[in-house]
């Protein structure tokens, strides 16, 4: 198993796609999530903001104290898309390049090599997750330094919980990607299907239906991975909310959400194992 992990680690970490995804996430974090907003609140035309908006409070979102809600308000969905792509590419490309034949014909066997792959992906997602949090922290510290604001961060326990949450959600979407790749035995279709589901079906359709009300939709949402991930993130609270803006209530409690996300992670891994074991690679 350790040897399989080492083999998977070598091929995963040398893969350019991983570093491209990391570069994209890093750019989004720095150049979309942090710098433009901070610059706007620091130097922008504040007349565009609704009357009564506290600009200082909005600016404080970019400092370390509110790093958790600020990071969680934007990054998880992007990280989810990146992790899903990573999962699809990890197994889907093996089908495309015929490398699945090589792996399957080697001694470790289908399930052991899959276990190695999933473990490496979980480790890579954790690395990616920690790296983005560290960058966010560094940027927040820098902005606080520029504004001579307090550099005090949130409690360590909250930080650890937030990092673990994003890792759990990222791992879930990654395993979803691996499962789709195993189901379609390629990477193009599962990538399209996965992103369509994550960004359009869950991100738009259910949000729209949910906002229109209806108990049935809300009950259905409670069963889906995305809304549960959202509820888990929502448990960390939010930053400054201007007067008159309503914060949506959480669909489920944080523990229920965490259990649901973990259950989905397990389900996706189990289905993948079943598909890989039962079906021929070509």
């Amino acid at each position: 198993m350790i040897e399989t992990f080492r083999a998977e680690w070598l091929k995963t970490t040398r893969r350019p796609a991983l570093w491209i995804l990391l570069g994209i996430l890093l750019s989004v974090l720095v150049f979309f999530v942090y710098l433009p907003g901070w610059w706007f609140f620091a130097h922008g035309p504040h007349g565009l903001l609704p009357a009564g908006t506290d600009v200082q409070q909005l600016k404080a979102e970019y400092y370390p104290r509110l790093i958790v809600p600020h990071f969680l308000s934007t990054m998880p969905s992007l990280m989810g898309a990146a992790c899903l792509s990573l999962g699809v590419l990890s197994l889907g490309s093996d089908y495309a390049w015929g490398t699945i034949h090589t792996i399957t014909s080697l001694p470790p066997g289908r399930l052991v090599s899959l276990a190695g792959r999933l473990t490496v992906l979980a480790a890579v997602v954790l690395g990616l997750d920690v790296f983005l949090w560290v960058v966010a922290w560094a940027v927040a510290m820098t902005l606080a330094g520029i504004d001579q604001a307090s550099a005090t961060g949130p409690p360590l326990q909250q930080m650890i919980a937030a990092v673990a949450t994003t890792w759990l959600i990222g791992s879930m979407w990654c395993s979803f990607g691996v499962m789709l790749a195993a189901a379609f035995r390629q990477s193009v279709v599962p990538l399209a299907v996965g992103l369509l589901y994550l960004l359009v079906i869950e991100g738009l359709v259910f949000n729209l239906l949910g906002s229109m009300g209806g108990d049935l939709v809300r009950e259905l949402e409670k069963l889906l991975p995305g809304p549960n991930a959202g509820a888990l993130i929502g448990a960390f609270g939010h930053g400054y909310v201007p007067a008159g803006v309503q914060v949506p209530t959480a669909l489920v409690g944080p523990w229920h959400a965490a259990e649901a996300v973990a259950a989905y992670l397990l389900l996706f891994c189990t289905v993948t194992a079943y598909l890989v074991r039962r079906r021929d690679p070509s």
């Binding site: 040897e3 083999a7 390049w97 015929g98 090589t102 014909s105 080697l106 001694p107």
Partner: protein
Amino acid sequence: MLGDMDLCVTARALSKRYDNGVLAVDSVDLHVPRGQVYGLLGPNGAGKTTTLRMLVGLIRPTAGDATVAGHDAGSGESRRHVGALLDRFGLYPYLSGRDNLRVVARYCGLENRRIELALGEVGMTRDANRKYGTYSRGMQQRIALAAVLMREPAIVILDEPTSGLDPQGILDMRTLVQEMSRSGRTVLLSSHHLSEVEQVCQTVGVINRGRLVVEGPVSELKGAGSLIVKAVPIEPAAHVLRAIAGAGRVICREDYLVMTLDGVPVRDISRALVSSGVDILELRQQERSLEDVFFELTSRVEARTA
């Protein structure tokens, strides 16, 4: 007849029907002798690749069973003894040749020392740090072969090993297969190049439309064709041969007879001619190429299925 201990690969009634209903392999029985080069010969789409994939464990048979190195085909134990180079070489284009071997070595728990030895064996040490995706097909095949040899398998399975190679590459591959055989390895290769099989294989199985048409040593298959008989007087000789083989199997030429053997031992024919008082001037088996055998066998199957 070889015993099971002398066989490295056996298959009994091995069959594969794909989900779309296509019967790719139909009750194939294979007997690959240990330490020999065995050629699975057949036209495109005959079922060679499917058969090899079942032996490696990439495809599960729908019926029948197979053993490789004494273990169930596709089991963990059999995979330990098999090195396979299939139609696509199956290595990572973004990794260097050396890193690809490193991945395989890690999967198999091999020492890095083996990587360098294998690279040297296939003559790729100098180019090993280049990305696999930038190699020519011949170089890609060498690296893939290094990945096989590095594991020092008892049996090497090669699917169309010379496909797409230039003449030098074909020659190198042939030499390498012969070296593997000399070092005591069993090699099972598939090909539709008859001359290639004839040059490197000791035993051949001819597969057509999913069925194994014939299997045996190359020398036997080639020699089993016909017998040239020069005898005086020729008419009684023809009469004797017709009595043994049937009228349709004996052709009278100007001053000799051609008899299709089809399993009749030559010594029985010789005895029958002598005891009938015929003087034998010449008695020899007609040399046939594997190509003749192949086309004869495959056309027979086609005629039967038509």
